[in-house]
Amino acid sequence: MTDDSVREYDALVIGGGIAGMESALKLGDMGYRVILVERDSSVGGKMVLFSKVFPTLDCASCISTPKMGAVVHHPSVTALTYAEVESIRGNGKGGFRAKIREKPRYVDEAACTGCRQCEVVCNVAVPDEFNAGLISRRAAYIPFPQAVPKKAVVERAGVSPCTFNCPAGVKAHGYVALVRSGRYEEAFNLVCEATPLVGVLGRACYAPCETECTRGVLEGPVSIRRLKRFIADRHYADGGSAVEIPPPNGKKVAIVGSGPAGLTAAWHLARSGYEVKVFEAASRPGGMLSTALPAFRLPDAVVQTDIAKIVSSGVEIVTDTRVEDLEALRDMGYAAVLVATGTHRSTRLGVPGEDLPGVLKALDFLRAARSGEALDVRGKEVVIVGGGNVAIDAARTALRLGAARVQVVYRRSRDEMPANPWEIDEAEREGVRFVYLATPTRCVGDGCVESMVCQPMELGEADESGRRRPTPADADPFVLDAACLLEEPREASVGVPDIEGAGGFLVIVAAGLTADVDGLGLALKPDGTVETDPVTLQTAVPYIFAAGDVVDGPSSIAEAAGRGRRAAYMINRWLRGEELDPTGLGDVLPVMDKTEVLERQESYRKVEPWRTGPLHTGASAVAGPLDFSELEPPVTEEEALHSAGRCLDCGVCSECRQCVAICPADCIDLRMSGREFEAEVGAVILATGFTLFPADAKPQYGYGRYKNVITGMQMDRLLAPTRPYNDVVRPGDGRIPDNIAYILCTGSRDETVGNPLCSQICCMYSIKQNQLIMGALPLADVTVYYMDVRSVGKGYDEFYEQAKAMGAGFVRGRISDITEKEDGNLVLRYEDIENGGGMVEAEHDLVVLAVGVQPSADVRSVFLDAAPSLDEYLYLGEADEDLDPGSTDMPGVFVAGSAAGAKDIPDSILHAGAAVAQAAAHIEKGRETA
């Protein structure tokens, strides 16, 4: 969302740490209008996270929080958290034009009470940056207990690829995360928010989510589809649950066709209060689910259970009722009609002999097999024409009915086959043979089909579908017939009525399907499917909508369900007189980039997908007679947890919606968008602070590898009143340490890591921590390894002496390396400078690296024209540190605090004072010249 009005301020302060807050407060006190922009969701910077401050040992959060409160409540200061300055450019009047973006919190800041219930219920755990990675936080989180504002934020990095690619609109990542937490019923309900066909999709969905799953880049995708099967099986095994039916809204909607599109639409409309009646021509509801998909992939009981759930939501389904007049429905009081009749007309081969007995349509064949009036194909030679999933299903069904041999004839090669590769594999394993690059030219027979003549093909240029177009090859036609029948017919598993008039050779045509809606008076597209508005699914007749394969041509269960959901959404809006705007259906964020997800970790422990059942066994052939019982084995809880545990939480928030459901203030909105606006400012103060030296850049100290080597920042968190653990304990095993080592100057005054500077603060924060440790753990020994202790500042040397007097040992020695013992203790090797310089070893049970500070000058990138210069150490440069502190080499741009170089808290506050004075002078000068 962009706000077009330009706001005006005297000063823009970037960064809400102690220097930024101080700058904003002082300018505000002088009467200037200030806007402060902080990237994190709370002001306070690093200071509020410390235990105590040196040398006074005042509680850091106690002295920070009044300033934090003051800055957000100051009448002259607008403090924006969770916001970023996108760009700054000169305005030609000595000031600047800044573009500022408030990131969406997905939480209504005004309404949130900070109760934390969203955090507690959230299903995604990530490292807590506010606790230096020592513990987890949640995707929904309040950064720390003293946060100002104390408001929750939901971290949404993007839409997880699985969710983004689900055509049905299922929050795939959400239900995977819920399964991981053992919340199976919630997972089931989340799928139902998109479609009630949970059991069906859990078995027969083509799972485009898995094709795009980021884990697929590693060992293989998360078994997202099977997890859906697991939650459906669980739900129904536990007796299901009653569907909440809303009070009727008095309006009726008719749905023609009870396939996935019609059923999903019916479910949503019923849950919006409509009286919904589904008219089905066949004798059983379910569309292709009940008539075409073979039972070994989708058992009938599963379809009927899902349908029963829909019926329990108040939907009425009438079968054996073919609708031929849509207007009549209108006359019966239906305010809107949805046509969801699928594609039930088979495409003809267009070759001579096609109407001979023994040439069957695949859909008729499958329907007969599915309804138990199975056909006698025992001992017969069966040829299937086509290369889609229908062809494969027909082939596998024919095998199960006892065919002697089944061959699939396809005009392109295997690579171009529209059927899913795993279906082709399974068919091959079961014994189906494939004849590629051949097309029938004639069916031949006397009274019934006896043979089929095929023309060999070759592949030419790509056609509009992107697949290479087959053209007749320069080769002789060949004949397929019943010559190679097996002597003993295979065992058939079901009843076997004769196929009328057929001989020993059968042809099953699976050459395509299209809509069969001739009598309904709807405008059709050239391919025979129904013409609708592609977005609203409304036909030319306003009260008639159409969805599913009848509009899109043969697609998939998930796509049809997704279109049914869209149709329901649009019908609801239309009946309420609202604009047919699809915004509420889609996602507000782009899909998560997989590379970005994978880059979050340096390494991944290999966790293979769970291998199970005939689908995954890789067995070369299926032993014993095939039957129609379900092929895929059920999902055990162990498998489900293993699979869900492989999810990488790509988008961070999983959209499981548990927080939305629990929030007592009803303030979480996962569809919230951010806000951008422009501001005219007279001066800019950069108070973006510093970064800490990455301790793993000194590999000889083992940080990140040795469990009990931590950084000074981590120790400060362990000592803080809001500490992540219950006490100062070792991260390696939770034991209270009793022999702690400090290594000063980690990453400071160290040319090997490119930082010759003293960090000014590490000696003093280490000495502070020494004193606090000796207070908290009276039995612990503390040894500080140093080259030089710098305690320059008021009371600093006394503070150092005090630590020594309390018992902290100071050893002058340079640590060369550390090794870890089996019990997690650490052996430090160092040059013992005070005793002749020999190498000495010492064992400790916890090592604290007093990491130094580094410049963090990336704020320069927001300046679109000129940017302030850096000094030789890459901190933001001051025009003259001694005589002109706080001003950069750019008029109107000032720097406050440690952004200009390492500083402790008192120095940062002092420096902010200088920057404030400089900025005020600049603003005043601007006023004079205006």
């Binding site: 690093k46 996270l49 955090e119 507690v120 219920v121 995604v124 755990a125 990530v126 490292p127 940056e129 506010f130 230096a132 990675g133 020592l134 513990i135 987890s136 949640r138 991981r180 053992g182 590693l218 060992e219 590379t595 994978l598 880059e599 979050r600 970790q601 340096e602 390494s603 991944y604 422990r605 290999k606 947890l641 869900a644 545990g645 990488l648 939480d649 990455p694 301790a695 793993d696 940080y703 990140g704 590898r705 469990k707 950084t711 920042m713 981590q714 992540p724 653990y725 219950n726 006490d727 304990v729 991260p731 390696g732 095993d733 939770g734 034991r735 209270i736 009793d738 997690g824 580094q854």
Partner: protein, 106 residues
């Protein structure tokens, strides 16, 4: 194949210095983010182990068959979100015992 997959893509690493979440090239260890991600998965086995009575972190680690340093992340996370709590005093070895907090939502 090795049991660890390295991301050749990973260049970032230290974007936010407050995250200590990057365990470098080391075959035996899991990335901190990966360990932490398992917290919800590990909640049940940990609570099952504690159902018998309070345990220290090494005892929980032994009961669920996972390394103690990973258990620290999970136990502390579960403590933060109210699933378990420590018994006041540490034992003679310097270990705290953790016990289940009884509440409705497991």
């Amino acid at each position: 194949m090795p049991d660890v997959i390295h991301t050749p893509l990973c260049a970032a690493g230290h974007a936010d210095n407050r995250v200590a979440g990057h365990a470098p090239d080391h075959l035996a260890d899991r990335d901190v983010r990966e360990i932490i991600r398992d917290e919800h998965l590990m909640r049940r086995p940990i609570l099952e182990a504690l159902a018998e009575g309070p345990l220290t972190i090494p005892q929980i680690a032994a009961a669920i068959g996972r390394p103690a340093h990973e258990v620290v992340y999970w136990v502390m996370g579960m403590r933060k979100y109210g699933h378990l709590t420590e018994i006041k005093e540490a034992d003679d070895e310097g270990f705290y015992l953790y016990k289940i907090v009884e509440k409705e939502d497991g």
